[in-house]
Symmetry: C2
Subunit: 281 residues, 2 copies
């Protein structure tokens, strides 16, 4: 939805096409499925017809290049804002499909992909800052973890998987609620890079808060059998050329809590909510 | 899209749920397929959350009652208008699937369902007229011709099929363009009822124009082998309890033309267009 999820002032039609496709591919990746078909619905206001034409052209090209068949959709008029709705159909081996309701106590919580980069990109775009290119790309053109998702789905060690679209905290809370378990995040393990810390500071943001609540990263969130973690994490790094990030563990209970230097820690955060409800942790 | 395809002032949430489902079922019916799965995406502005909740509740109930499985979708915030996007997945016997590109010269053009009723319903709703209930229902709660579509798809006599969503003229023109043929509409065959004529007159409308250009009827448009038409039409009427309407024929050429009392006739009409382009016939 224009002016909620994107603004045409900083989203060129190519970036928007990329994002519209990949945020949906991310959901397919999260179940370990291979995307096959896509349907795209778009409503276009009069004033944006040229922009929308370019968007559609790029979207169709991108589907073809990704090997996904664009099999249908709908183009209609809208009053004053662009609306885009994408449906992707994928296939997976029934036994390999990963759900969000199957995490077990003692499982290790791991994250695939960077945390908080997209949020810095959003801030940089909204403030029209010419720097911070490193973060703008993950925000404007996130890349779904399709290959990682398919590989992770085939690993028995992965007990539970979902994508991170609304921010780590919100999505981990969903995973824990669905699994009837509690998530413990070890703040030391978040371990932001020095550059990321500095960039957050320049923008007046707390880097831990950004990593915990920044949305739209489109990474993957997994729960992993603690006994199989070691060789499994090594394999992942070898195959994909970057490490998974261990950030905590699952235990009995409900909700999310934090530890820091081995001590429980309270944190007041305002994570993303589609409808602006405020939640404290 | 709110304020383009519907207004909440005259669409109660139940009617809107009905329409959102059936306008999509109509596309599935047009190919002769049996609907199996549905995905619903909705963007909701803050002010409309109660309305949207009721819509979603009704939509889910309706899917269940229709025997279609609601398998997914997305709920997000919007700025100031409701947007709904529905995807339905159906199955059909490969050989029975009907397309819009296969009409042949000499084929008879037939219509299933009333023409122009939904348009009168729209006018009555927009003008807040308490009468015209007969037309409001087809506008507010159109019923997809699912059973008819499945039956017609199994008939070899039917060479071509699509649904009528943008009005007879616009949709017949699409069918003819796709089939590289010309459509001839016999105005006498439109044969509006006396009541319909009178109601059009009360609303200051030309009844023939309404039948030709009024949108959102969600009937079916077929091309039928002339030699098989007779017994086929009898079977249809017997099974469904109402007749198909013969309205013209396919010939060589392109575009649409009209005959009246055996004479060619020019007509100036402004059919529906999603983006307001004006077309004359």
């Amino acid at each position: 939805m224009e002016d909620v999820h994107f603004c045409t002032s900083y989203f060129d039609p190519l970036s928007l096409a990329h994002k519209a496709l990949h945020v949906n591919l991310s959901d397919v990746a999260a179940m370990g499925a291979t995307p096959l078909f896509v349907l795209g619905g778009i409503s276009i206001p009069m004033l944006h017809q040229e922009y929308a034409k370019e968007f559609l052209h790029n979207f169709a090209d991108m589907c073809e290049n990704t090997g996904i068949k664009l099999i249908g959709g709908d183009i209609t008029a809208s009053r004053d804002r662009i609306f885009i709705s994408v449906t992707i159909i994928g296939v997976a081996r029934t036994k390999a499909i990963k759900y969000r309701c199957t995490a077990k106590p003692t499982n290790i919580i791991c994250v695939v992909g960077e945390l908080g980069y997209a949020h810095l990109g959003l801030i940089a775009c909204e403030k029209s800052l010419s720097e911070f290119g490193l973060y703008k790309k993950p925000f404007l053109r996130p890349t779904a973890k399709t290959k990682e998702g398919i590989w992770l789905a085939e690993q028995d060690a992965v007990t539970c998987m979902m994508d991170i679209s609304d921010g780590l905290l919100v999505d981990l809370r969903k995973l824990c609620k669905a699994s009837d378990a509690k998530g413990v995040i070890d703040l030391e393990l978040l371990n932001p890079s020095i550059a990321f810390r500095e960039d957050c500071a320049i923008l007046g943001l707390d880097c831990m808060d950004v990593m915990l609540t920044g949305g739209e990263d489109y990474g993957l969130l997994c729960a992993i059998d603690v006994e199989k973690l070691h060789c499994f994490a090594k394999d992942f790094a070898k195959i994909f050329g970057y490490p998974m990030k261990r950030i905590g563990y699952i235990t009995n209970g409900s909700g999310i809590c934090f530890v820091n230097n081995g001590l429980w820690k309270n944190k007041k955060l305002k994570p993303f909510s589609h409808f602006g409800e405020s939640t404290e942790f």
